[in-house]
Symmetry: C2
């Protein structure tokens, strides 16, 4: 944890001038967030089947100006054809009238069932009933409104001290628990900041890098939703430039915030009982480290072993081996840890975790924790990456098998 | 099914001159197969962590001559350093003395726990006790000796009528049930044929193509073993040349045999209750079709839906969408079938499987079968591929969580 980053209250409303609200009725929910004069950017699903709201928001985002975001839960408005596009536009028009803002400055996101028509009557009613304000409660309500199979609302905020001593805030709400019933759980994250970043490319790159290190390193079951959206909106108050780029403290803070939210999603993963973090060091490059970390955290065998409390380094080694990254099989180290103790199972390819050894018994003790780290060192160079996930449990199968279309 | 392919008895011993035997003691087993004058080829795991026996067999295979195969279960002899290589060589030397054959013509394979020393005393004893013969029973015993978490021995044999009317036989034993405890289940397959194929490249390509369409399209949990080996040994009796290549009837027969064995493995998948086949048509290329079929059959969400009897086309569509292959989202068809009936859930991107429709009810009936096909048509070109797998069940999690190193 960086001394320049302080966790604060308020979620997406931690930033001055940002107003939010959330409301639910039965399985449907709507959240609305409004922003003063802004500059915005977004990162979207790469699934070829892209929901109508994602298509719309991507096109709106070309102007980089977002005055409001509307998001609904209960229906993904995906695979809904021209009807879905019309519904999307109708929701935006309705909100545009309500808030008296330009409809071309409204981003939209949806999460829920695929291939069903939007229940527009309910949507209109929820939009009409919703009140916006800048408060902690408003942020929490908006986070609650977009939950599907999430069991807890997800929000976070930080205050960052820049290199020049000035302070800048970043706040967010999010939802996501892996790809789950109904049909699959979208990852949505809306981020506000009072930072001033006028260069569109810098803004986009900043968000992209933060997403790469957080949500893109989160694996619950490997399926990718048709509806994922991460939106960053700046209210342009605090200059965060530094030389030709952004103040690295700002970038650190944004990444820290996104990682906290990604970890919340992992902990809230489908049927998860344990949080798992895979930390890879010593890879030839950042890309290599990412590939290995994601291979290990995606392995059904590793995930099932974590559930069973089994320090099964054989499965870890195999998942490193099949991901296609070049490394030296004769010099790899694998350890597991909780946040206090660390036990090597394999050190420089020497196996310490044999059946019946002290090492294996110590490792089994660590595996009883709810938060487990797998540490992998390839001893090649400085490439490093962390991935976030959870165990594979009976409940994962139960939840996903018992949902009926 | 092709009229030119007839299923016959005898497994790997269906081919004249091939002798086999298998023996088990506790969790260990040894199978030995011997061949008259031969020409051989192999396909091996691409896992960077490669077990000692795989490395050895790969190097032996450069001469394309194999007089015998020895395979053991219970210990994978993987991640065992120079000791593992010595043990490998010692087993080969022991067999070389027993059968009085050149030790450079002995292939070796192992399956079982990773990172444990080979129990050489037991290995020597089992090799000594083993008797070889050409019989149905000998083939079955050898298939039994290499089982780990397999619940049934796997063998198959076919007789193929070539274009010129001549007959050629192919027989095989195999093991594999997905990557499972202990540590992971290797895929092993040993194939004999009386075909005469003197061109090394033709022989290798023939096996590679058959493996691509069968074992490489088999997904139980997506983890790839460190020990996979498929070996094809020819006894050089029946000429199967045709113009510049091989008689396509021979290739059809080899692929058919490998697909039958891959399907047996899918049916025997970890905790599986249902066999699943994904058939993709209309893709731009064979490669595209393969990628889509494997994406759908690998999806934990699709696999859990199959277990739950849920015709969840939303998850299927999503898995098609995120695999990276180019297609037209506005023209895709998805149907499910057993071997008699077929129900469209999506036809030319029109959704027929809405909640409460007759289509969905019919589809739910089909989902009650033990063998389910998912049919996907992209309506673009002629690329086609099939993938084989199974459902994701409580028992999969149970088996993989409860095994302790």
């Amino acid at each position: 944890m960086n001394d320049n980053i302080k966790t604060i209250d308020g979620g997406i409303c931690a930033v001055y001038g940002v107003e939010a609200g959330g409301i639910r009725e039965g399985k449907y929910g709507v959240c609305i967030i409004s922003f003063p004069e802004t500059m915005a950017t977004g990162v979207f699903t790469t699934n070829k089947i892209m929901a109508a709201p994602v298509k719309h928001t991507k096109s709106i985002m070309e102007n980089n100006i977002i005055s409001a975001i509307i998001a609904n839960s209960g229906n993904a408005n995906c695979f809904t054809g021209s009807q879905g596009e019309e519904d999307c536009q109708d929701m935006i028009n309705h909100l545009s009238n309500k808030l008296n803002i330009n409809k071309n400055e409204i981003a939209i996101a949806s999460t829920g069932v695929i291939g069903r028509k939007m229940p527009m009557k309910i949507m209109y009613k929820l939009i009409d009933d919703l009140k916006l304000e800048n408060s902690n409660e408003a942020s929490t309500n908006s986070a609650k409104a977009i939950m599907t199979t999430d069991t807890v609302p997800k929000e976070y905020a930080v205050e960052i001290t820049l290199k020049n001593g000035e302070k800048v805030k970043i706040g967010a709400i999010a939802k996501g628990t892996g790809m789950i019933a109904p049909n699959m759980a979208t990852l949505l994250c809306f981020i506000s900041t009072d930072a001033k970043i006028e260069d569109k490319k810098l803004l986009k790159d900043s968000l992209k890098m933060a997403v790469d290190k957080s949500f893109n390193m989160l694996v619950v079951d490997g399926d990718e939703s048709t509806n994922d959206e991460v939106i960053l909106v700046t209210t342009k108050k605090v200059d965060v430039r530094y030389n030709d780029g952004l103040d690295p403290k700002f970038q650190d803070g944004l990444e820290y915030l996104c990682i906290q939210l990604a970890k919340m999603m992992a902990r809230d993963g489908e049927g998860a009982t344990k949080f798992l973090e895979v930390k890879v060091n010593g890879a030839k490059s950042y890309e290599d480290a990412k590939t290995i970390a994601k291979s290990v955290i995606s392995s059904s065998l590793v995930k099932a072993a974590i559930f069973g409390g089994d320090p099964n380094w054989g499965r870890i080694v195999a998942a490193v081996g099949y991901c296609g990254v070049d490394f030296n099989p004769d010099n790899i180290s694998i350890a597991i840890s909780n946040n206090e103790e660390k036990v090597y199972l394999v050190k420089n390819s020497e196996i310490l975790g044999f059946e019946g050894t002290v090492n294996l018994k110590d490792a089994e003790e660590i595996m009883k924790n709810n938060e487990i780290n797998i540490l992998i060192d390839l001893h090649l160079a400085n490439g490093t990456a962390n991935a976030f996930g959870c165990d594979l449990t009976y409940d994962y199968v139960k939840i996903n098998a018992e949902y009926t279309t």
